[in-house]
C-alpha cells in the first residue's frame, strides 16, 4: 500500500483541465485534416475531400492526403443536434459495439483513464442500457447487431441520446453501413478512431455545457 501511495505522490496531478482549459494532447490524424498546399484535391480513399474541404463524417484518419493536407489538431469536430440540460449534472453511458475494429471501443473506454477522469464531469459508464441516458455506438452496422441495438435503444430511459462514435458509425466509412440505417443519430463524433478529448467534448455538447 505504501508503494502505491508513494507512486501517486511522485506522479503529481495528471488529470486534464479540459474542458475548462485546453486539451493537452491530440492524436494528430484523428483530428480533421486541413488544406496546406497543392492545386488539386489529393487522392482520398474515403472520398472525403472535395473542393479543398474534408467531410469529417467520412474521413478515416488515414493521412494519405499528406502533404497537401495536415492535421488541424482541433478536437472540437463533433456535432450535436441536441442539448439536454437534464443531463448537466450527470450522464450515464452505455457503450454498444455494432461492428467495430476495437479501436473506437478503447477510445471510449479511455475516458475512464486518470488523464481524462470523466467522473469529475459527472460522466459514467453503465453496464445496462436500462440505467443509461445515452448510447455510444461504435462500428459499422452489421445485420446481426441491428436487433441488439434496437433493444438497447428501447431499454434506455427516454429521451435517450444516441452518439455515433467514429467514421464507421457515422457514415459506414469504407467498411459498411452507418448506424443511421437503424437509429436516428443525435451526436456525431468524427475520427477513426476519435481522440478521447473529441469524445469528451461531444458529451459536453450533448449536455449543453459547451
Amino acid at each position: 500500500m505504501k508503494a502505491w501511495i508513494l507512486r501517486s505522490f511522485k506522479k503529481g496531478i495528471i488529470t486534464s483541465k479540459f474542458p475548462r482549459g485546453k486539451n493537452e494532447t491530440a492524436s494528430p490524424w484523428s483530428t480533421l485534416p486541413i488544406y496546406k498546399k497543392g492545386k488539386q484535391d489529393p487522392y482520398c480513399p474515403a472520398g472525403a475531400i472535395a473542393q479543398g474541404k474534408v467531410d469529417a463524417n467520412r474521413c478515416i484518419s488515414c493521412g494519405l492526403c499528406y502533404p497537401e493536407y495536415e492535421p488541424s489538431m482541433d478536437i472540437h469536430g463533433s456535432e450535436s443536434s441536441v442539448s439536454v440540460s437534464a443531463l448537466k449534472k450527470s450522464i450515464r453511458i452505455y457503450q454498444i459495439d455494432v461492428g467495430s475494429c476495437g479501436a473506437c471501443n478503447l477510445e471510449i473506454g479511455a475516458l475512464a483513464n486518470p488523464q481524462y477522469d470523466m467522473t469529475r464531469l459527472g460522466i459514467s459508464f453503465t453496464n445496462t442500457p436500462r440505467h443509461a441516458d445515452a448510447l455510444m455506438v461504435s462500428g459499422v452496422l452489421t445485420e446481426n447487431m441491428r436487433e441488439p441495438l434496437r433493444r438497447a435503444y428501447e431499454a434506455m430511459a427516454q429521451p435517450g441520446v444516441v452518439f455515433a462514435v467514429g467514421a464507421c458509425a457515422i457514415s459506414g466509412s469504407i467498411l459498411g453501413k452507418a448506424v443511421s440505417d437503424a437509429l436516428h443519430i443525435d451526436v456525431t463524433v468524427p475520427g477513426c478512431p476519435p481522440d478521447p478529448f473529441t469524445i469528451m467534448d461531444a458529451v459536453q455538447k450533448a449536455r449543453g455545457i459547451v
Partner: protein
C-alpha cells in the same frame, strides 16, 4: 470465407492451406474446406443444467459476442459461443493492394501495426520488392510498441476485474502515456495509415521514442512486482481457464510452457536479441506473467530497432501495377500468430485466406472453462486477449 483453425484459400476449385509459422501456401489435392474445418462442437442437452445466455451486447465486455454458459450450481459445464454478431465480412476482392491494406488495418484496429506489416510483407515478397532494412526496423518498433499497449490493456482488464483499483488506474495511466507517445511519433494512436507497400506513407519522429517507452515499461515492472505480492490478485487468476498443448496461440501458448513465438521464425526479427518468455501452469496467472515479461522484452526490441533506423524517406510507391501472385506469411500479433495467404490477379485481390490467433484462443478458452466456477469465466476470457473483430471473414 469463414476462418478456420488454419489459413485456407480457395481459388479456381483448388484449396490452399498455410501451416503455422510458414510462408509457403500448400495445394491440398482432393481436400475440401468442410473436411479441413472440422465439425462444430455440439451443445450438450441436459434438463438438470441451467443455461445463462450472455451477450451479444453486454456491459463489461469490450466487444459484442454471445456466450451460452451451461452451469450446474457454481460450476461451468460447457460454454458455447457465437462471434458472428459483429462479423463485418470485410470485402477485399477486387481491391488494389493499397485499398485492401486500409481494410486489413481495420480488421483489428488495436493490432493495426501487426496486421498491416503482415499484409505489406506478404505483398512485397509476392512482387519480389526489395524493402529497405530501415522500413523493417520501423515496422518492428511499431509492432513492439503495439504489443506493450495491448498487453497493458489486458493487464488493466485483469486488475480491474480483480478490484485492484490502484494498480488498475496506474496501468491505465501508463497505457494512455504510451498511446500519446505513439501519437507524437507516428501521428496516430493506433498506427493507422503509417505502413505502405514497400515503405511508409508519412514522416515519423522517433526522437525520444525508445526512451519514453523504456520509462513506461520500467514503471509497469514496479507495478507488476507489487501485484505479484498480492495474494488476493494471484488467487483470482490462479488455476483459471487452464490451457495446455499446442492448440492456442501467443501468450496462451507460452503460458502453457511451450517456447513458441512467431518472432523467432520471422526474418524481420533476425539479429535482434530478446528472450522468449514462458510460464508454467497454462492458467490466467501464467498468461499474465508471460505478458508482463514480454512488455520488458518488447521495450528492449524497440530500443534495438529504433537504433537501426536513421533517416527514413517517405516512399511507398510502385505498388499499383498489374501484379499477379500468390504468397503467404505470418506475424506474431500481441494475441498470437496470425497466418495469411494472398492471391492477386492483375493488380487486384482475387482471394485472401486468413487465420487469426483469436480463432484458436477462443476455442481453447471455451474448452478450458468447463469445470471452472462462474467467477473464473471473466478472468479466463480477459487473460487471453481475444479480439472478436479479427474473427470475422473476408469477402
Amino acid at each position: 470465407m469463414k476462418q478456420s483453425n488454419i489459413a485456407l484459400l480457395e481459388s479456381e476449385g483448388s484449396l490452399y492451406t498455410l501451416d503455422r509459422f510458414t510462408v509457403v501456401p500448400v495445394l491440398q489435392t482432393g481436400g475440401t474446406i468442410r473436411a479441413i474445418e472440422g465439425e462444430k462442437i455440439a451443445f450438450p442437452e441436459s434438463s438438470s443444467l441451467s443455461v445463462f445466455p450472455y451477450g451479444p451486447s453486454s456491459g463489461g465486455m469490450v466487444e459484442s459476442v454471445y456466450f451460452d454458459i451451461l452451469t450446474q450450481g457454481e460450476k461451468i459445464q460447457h460454454v458455447g459461443y457465437d462471434a458472428d454478431f459483429k462479423n463485418r465480412s470485410i470485402k477485399l476482392s477486387g481491391l488494389t493492394m493499397n485499398e485492401a491494406l486500409l481494410r486489413i488495418e481495420r480488421m483489428n484496429g488495436v493490432h493495426c501495426a501487426a496486421y498491416s506489416s503482415l499484409f505489406c510483407n506478404i505483398c512485397e515478397s509476392g512482387i519480389n520488392m526489395d524493402v529497405p532494412d530501415q522500413v523493417k526496423y520501423l515496422r518492428i518498433a511499431m509492432m513492439e510498441a503495439e504489443r506493450i499497449s495491448s498487453h497493458l490493456f489486458v493487464a488493466s482488464r485483469l486488475t480491474g476485474g480483480a478490484s485492484q483499483n490502484i494498480a488498475h488506474m496506474n496501468i491505465l495511466l501508463l497505457r494512455e502515456e504510451l498511446l500519446r507517445t505513439i501519437a507524437m511519433a507516428f501521428g496516430h494512436r493506433y498506427f493507422f495509415g503509417v505502413n505502405g507497400i514497400g515503405g511508409i506513407n508519412r514522416p515519423v519522429d522517433l526522437n525520444g521514442f525508445a526512451k519514453k517507452i523504456r520509462h513506461i515499461t520500467d514503471e509497469y515492472n514496479e507495478i507488476f512486482r507489487t501485484l505479484m505480492d498480492s495474494r488476493v490478485f494471484i488467487d483470482r487468476l490462479d488455476r483459471s481457464a487452464i490451457i495446455l498443448g499446442e492448440n492456442s496461440s501467443g501468450p496462451a501458448l507460452r503460458g502453457s510452457g511451450i517456447k513458441k513465438d512467431g518472432r523467432n521464425f520471422h526474418t524481420y526479427y533476425e539479429g535482434l536479441e530478446f528472450r522468449t518468455i514462458t510460464a508454467d501452469g497454462g492458467d490466467a496467472l501464467a498468461r499474465f506473467i508471460v505478458r508482463s515479461g514480454e512488455i520488458q522484452e518488447s521495450a528492449a526490441i524497440v530500443e534495438q530497432a529504433v537504433s537501426r533506423v536513421s533517416k527514413l524517406n517517405v516512399d511507398s510507391q510502385g505498388n499499383e501495377r498489374n501484379h499477379s501472385f500468390m504468397a503467404g506469411g505470418f506475424m506474431e500479433t500481441p494475441s498470437g500468430d496470425a497466418s495469411m495467404i494472398v492471391k492477386m490477379g492483375n493488380g487486384r485481390v482475387e482471394s485472401i485466406g486468413f487465420r487469426s490467433p483469436s480463432i484458436l484462443n477462443m476455442q481453447a478458452f471455451v474448452e478450458s472453462v468447463s469445470g471452472n466456477t462462474f467467477a473464473d469465466f471473466l478472468f479466463g476470457y480477459e487473460s487471453l486477449g481475444i479480439w472478436i473483430c479479427e474473427m470475422g471473414d473476408f469477402q
